[in-house]
Structure formats: structure tokens, C-alpha cells
Symmetry: C2
Subunit: 363 residues, 2 copies
């Protein structure tokens, strides 16, 4: 096994660097701060693929004018509990929080708020939005579509994004349950890691360019595809595929954005879709006031009981028993807030290159 | 392989029989008709486990007074877009449609409607409710919790129900996309079929009473558990587990119902939970007006394009290419509307026994 050397960076330094890079392109300071905060939340929570490791892609898109640094975000339609929004091709990290706030404002008066978003770009980790909702005693929902990477069950080509779903529920004394899950069997990052290490991937993760099951990470990367959650028909792959469609329709179709194989890529080196069926990519946000359904204090005490009940379940052999969704991320956050965020060489090189081109110091 | 003999029954006969059985216990005629319609929809769509095969359990619960045939359903709380409902221990097949109508009515004025339900019972197939919403150009959501059957990832005991999620999207010329999926890897019915045939089950479906992976259907049935969608950690079992929690919290906790291992059983022979944390079981319904987000005609044309695009995907080897969610059920419906519903001997025996006890003729 190759040991990959890492260097630790304080989260505040990474956050400030990202914010200044966004501002370098004319992103207004408040927007840049919020966008950098989303990347930092990802790095803190251990979701390395969605933090500063992505700054290079944002940098390139902004450099080429492919993303609008100062979008005029508009509400296209609204009802007491809904809105649909055009993100004016802004950073998803700016459009997303804007739309999420509308959902939360609608909830204040209508009980719930639901916002579809089109003409946007990559919005970071889905969990960030539902954690914002927690601050206001709201149950938040967050979904986004993304460039194609996943095959439909029985398909031999990439047709859907990894299309995550996030939702969170607050406890009273226990930490919240924070769900944030892609609708495919495994993250693309794990394929990349296996390729770098030169090891095979488990069955059920991917197919090759012919649509055959493969354990070769290179075969997946060179024209193959990820498999939906459930992997194959026997183990419920049609369900993960259906979830991927659900997210894609709510975000892409309902948001007036591109969907399925037509969602534009996040990074420059990825292939452009063969046609356009909407604007940019799409998101979908929801916010539900707990007191619209039940006494919030009662709800939170029940969540405490829920968390404790599941933690007390008899452990499977060789395990310490069930975790709750959000546990691994909270543990990572405690460590990284103290010790800094470990970045690998190629990511540091990217940041240094951005530093050189913009004149913004990294350290 | 054992061939299981079946006899075909016209759907109208089964529907009428169920309706009369419900009325026999004092269920008002309109409620009984609707409840019987939900069972018939299940039988027509090929979901044999949720149709008249369950009439015996409803019959027993009604005979013993465990289900209230004439519930006084009440709204506990409401806002412009929400309501929470107490089902007064009625049939889920009566409480569910009632709550679903409230969600649809809320949507008419607020853009969307969201209803949590407690003190209810088994509500049939989740898909029925979202297909109702389709009639009014609404995107319907439907979820329910259920008695424990599924282990949490890394747990060695049943803690969650099969907790399904349904949602549907209308097309213009193409049939709607109808998603209805349990959040476990496989339906319990498939374990029973393997047991009856004396064949092993695939890996990834179940654990035994010690929490170890098993391919023995009997080991699952005797104190084991189903696995969540994704099966194990490597293939995303934590995601199926998280989805199961999501449905359980929205239905059970938000509905003031029992949740997790405390959800009461559907049938008499199942074990009673060790304690009660709410009333009955819970459901969660949503209804979203399409025109609250986008022009409905545009939406439907995009869904047509979506369906055709996925059908045109390159097929995986040995398959005819991807299906769309709802395809298998629609095909079953076309056949069964014509040829009748095939029932196996034990189910016919149950119906004949009910016929004898109630005096309602089956044929």
C-alpha cells in the first residue's frame, strides 16, 4: 500500500484563501465568505472531495468566464410555500444558500418552503444546507443533480449524476441526525483512490465501457460508469436508480435545468453533453417547521430516544454496533478543528498554482 | 423448482369481496370501497404481497377489535401547507387516503401540502397515493413506517421497517414515472418464496440471528433480519439504512406514532414491541403543484424526453436496456386486467375461510 504524504492546514487559513480567490473574480465579499464557508465545512467534516480540492475547478471556470461571479438571481414563480429560481449561472455556492434561505422564509409563514433552482452550478456538500435549517428548528431537505457518472440499471453508459439527498433532524441532548448520501453505490473518489493505489475495486461499484461488471478502476474511469445504490437487480439496483431519477427530476426538470446525461460538467476537462435541455444544473431545497406538525420539544426528545435506541442495538460480529448518520463527519470535524485539514500533494500544488496566479498567499 | 398452482380471479370480484368484508365490520361503504380499491390496485399491479393476500390480517385485526372500523380522524395541527393527523386507530387504507386528500387540498391553495399521520395502521401500497395525486397534476409523495424487519448497518437485530418511499411524475404522451421502493435490499416476500422452494438466498439480502451474513432463508426468518438497501458498508448499506431512518422519522416521529423497533406489527402472529413511544404507525404524504414551479405542459414534455432518453440508453450485455420505474407494474396491470389476478392456494384458502365466517360469497 502506498502511503500518501499529507500536510495539515488550519481550517481558517483554507477558508480565507478560498474567500479571497472568489473575491479576486469579483464575487461580492459576503457571497465569497459564504461560499468559502461551505468548502470549509466540507473539509472539516472529512468530505475531502468537496472542499478546497475543488477550488481549482471553480478557479478555472471563473477564469474562463464560464461562471457568473455576480449573478442576478431571480424568482421565476412563487406560491405561499414554493418558489422556482433562476441562478443566472452563478456559483452554486452562492445560488444554493440564496435559494435555501427562500425555502426557510416560506416555511416561516406557510409551514413549509420548497424551492427548485435552475441555471446553477456545483453547490458543494448537500449537508451544509440542511445544517443551516437546523439553526432555525427547521427540517431541511437538499438535493442537487450533477454531471453524468452513474449508469441506469441495465444500462451500459453514464446517464445520471451521483444526485445526493440530504435531510437533518435535530435532537435535544443528542447531536442531530444528518443524512447526506449520493444515490450511487460508492463515491467516484474511491475509484480514483483505488486507481492511484493500483488495487481492484469491489464488485458492485462499477461497470466497464461495455456495461459489464468490473473490478478494474481504470475500466470504470475510461468510459465505464458507477452503479446505482443496490448495484444489481438482485440486490435492489433498480431502487438506487429510481432514487437517482427522483433527485434528477426534482432538481433538473422541476428547476428548468439540464437533467440526466445533459447536465453540464463541473470541471473543464470533462466532456460537454450532446445537447442542452435546460439551463445549468438544478437543485431542490425544502424546509419544514417542526411545530407545523408536532411540539418541537417533544420531537427532539423523541429523536434523543431514537438515537439512543439505535446505538443500543446488538452489534453485528466484528463491529462496534450501528452508527447514526452524521457520526463519522462529526468525529472528523472534532479532529480537524484541532489538528487542521490534511491535504495531499496534488491538492496543495493546485492551491499554490492558484496562489501564484492570483497573488493571494496560501500561507 | 416447485411449480406453485394458481387460480385466476377477476379483479372486480376480489375488489367487491374485500369491500364487503370491510363493510361486514362496520366500515362505512365509501371507506370500504376505497380501501378495497387500494388492495385491488396492488393485485392489479403485481404487488401480490399487498393485495388480497393481506385481507386475512385485516380480517383478524377487525375481528378482535384491534382496528377501529369507524375512526374519527382529527387534524391535530395545521398551517397553510401542513397538517398533522390522528388516525384514531382506523384502517390505514381509510386514514391514508383521508390524509392524502388533505395534502392535495393544501397544495391547491399553498402550492404544496404535507401531512404527517399517527395512530394509523398498514396503508397498502405507497404508490396508490401518488397515483391519486397524478389525477390532479400534482407530484405526490408517500411514505410509511412499519413493523421492524430490517437491521441497521452493523446491527444484529431488527430495528427498522421496510419503510417505503413513493413519488410519481406525469408525462404528456409517455406514461408517468412511478417510483415505489422499500428502503431494504429485498422484499421479505422473496425470502418466504426461497424458503418455500428450499433454495438459498443471494448474499446481501439478510443476516442471521447473530448478525452474520446468511444465504439461508430460514436463518433470516428465525430471528435474523433483512439488510438495508446497499447491503454492506462497502456497497453503501449505510445509505439504505439512512433512508430507512429518514422515512421512519418523517412518519413515526413527526406523526406522533411509534417508530423503529416499537412500531406495532401488522399481523397478529408477530411479536409485540417491548414498549410504546407513540400511537400506532405513521405515514407522511406530500403533494406539490407542478405549476407552482414550472409550466406543467413544459414539465410533462420534459418527462417524455426524459423517459425516451433513458429507454434509448445503450443496453448492458444480456439485457434489453433500462426500464423506467413503474414499467413492470404497468405491464402486470395490462395482463391482469385481462386475465385476472393469479392467487396461490394458501391465499385462496384464507379468502374461503373469511367467506365462510362472514357469509360473503367469494365466487
Amino acid at each position: 500500500m502506498t502511503v500518501i504524504p499529507v500536510k495539515h492546514f488550519p481550517i481558517e487559513r483554507l477558508r480565507e484563501f478560498s474567500s479571497r480567490v472568489f473575491q479576486h473574480f469579483g464575487v461580492p465579499p459576503a457571497d465569497a465568505e459564504e461560499a468559502a464557508g461551505i468548502l470549509a465545512a466540507s473539509d472539516l467534516r472529512g468530505i475531502d472531495s468537496h472542499g478546497v480540492a475543488r477550488l481549482r475547478a471553480y478557479f478555472e471556470m471563473l477564469t474562463l468566464g464560464r461562471i457568473n461571479p455576480k449573478p442576478r438571481i431571480t424568482v421565476l414563480r412563487e406560491t405561499p410555500s414554493t418558489a422556482s429560481i433562476d441562478g443566472d449561472n452563478g456559483l452554486g455556492l452562492v445560488v444554493g444558500p440564496w435559494a435555501n434561505r427562500i425555502a426557510m422564509e416560506k416555511a416561516a409563514t406557510a409551514g413549509t418552503g420548497w424551492v427548485s433552482v435552475g441555471n446553477s452550478n456545483h453547490y458543494g456538500i448537500a449537508a451544509w444546507y440542511v445544517m443551516e435549517a437546523l439553526k432555525f428548528d427547521l427540517i431541511g431537505w437538499s438535493m442537487t443533480n450533477a454531471t453524468r457518472m452513474v449508469a441506469p440499471l441495465w444500462g451500459a453508459e453514464r446517464m445520471l449524476g451521483t444526485n445526493p439527498i440530504a435531510i437533518a433532524f435535530p435532537g435535544k441532548e443528542e447531536p442531530p441526525i444528518v443524512i447526506d448520501m449520493a444515490t450511487c453505490a460508492v463515491a467516484f473518489g474511491k475509484i480514483e483512490i483505488a486507481r492511484r493505489k493500483g488495487i481492484p475495486i469491489p464488485e458492485g461499484w462499477a461497470i466497464d465501457g461495455e456495461g459489464k461488471a468490473t473490478t478494474d478502476p481504470v475500466a470504470m474511469m475510461m468510459g465505464g460508469a458507477l452503479l446505482p445504490l443496490g448495484s444489481d437487480r438482485e440486490r435492489g439496483g433498480h431502487k438506487g436508480y429510481a432514487l437517482g431519477i427522483m433527485v434528477d427530476v426534482l432538481c433538473g426538470v422541476l428547476g428548468g435545468a439540464n437533467w440526466g446525461p445533459f447536465a453540464p460538467p463541473f470541471a473543464l476537462r470533462q466532456q460537454m453533453p450532446v445537447r442542452s435541455v435546460g439551463k445549468g444544473i438544478g437543485h431542490f431545497f425544502g424546509a419544514m417547521r417542526i411545530d407545523a406538525f408536532i411540539d418541537p420539544d417533544e420531537f427532539k426528545r423523541q429523536i434523543d430516544d431514537y438515537v439512543r435506541t439505535l446505538r443500543a442495538a446488538k452489534p453485528a460480529p466484528g463491529t462496534a454496533g450501528p452508527l447514526l448518520p452524521g457520526d463519522p463527519e462529526r468525529e472528523a470535524e472534532a479532529i480537524r478543528a484541532r489538528e487542521g485539514v490534511p491535504l495531499i500533494g496534488p491538492v496543495i500544488d493546485d492551491l499554490l498554482d492558484i496562489s501564484k496566479k492570483t497573488g493571494i498567499p496560501l500561507e
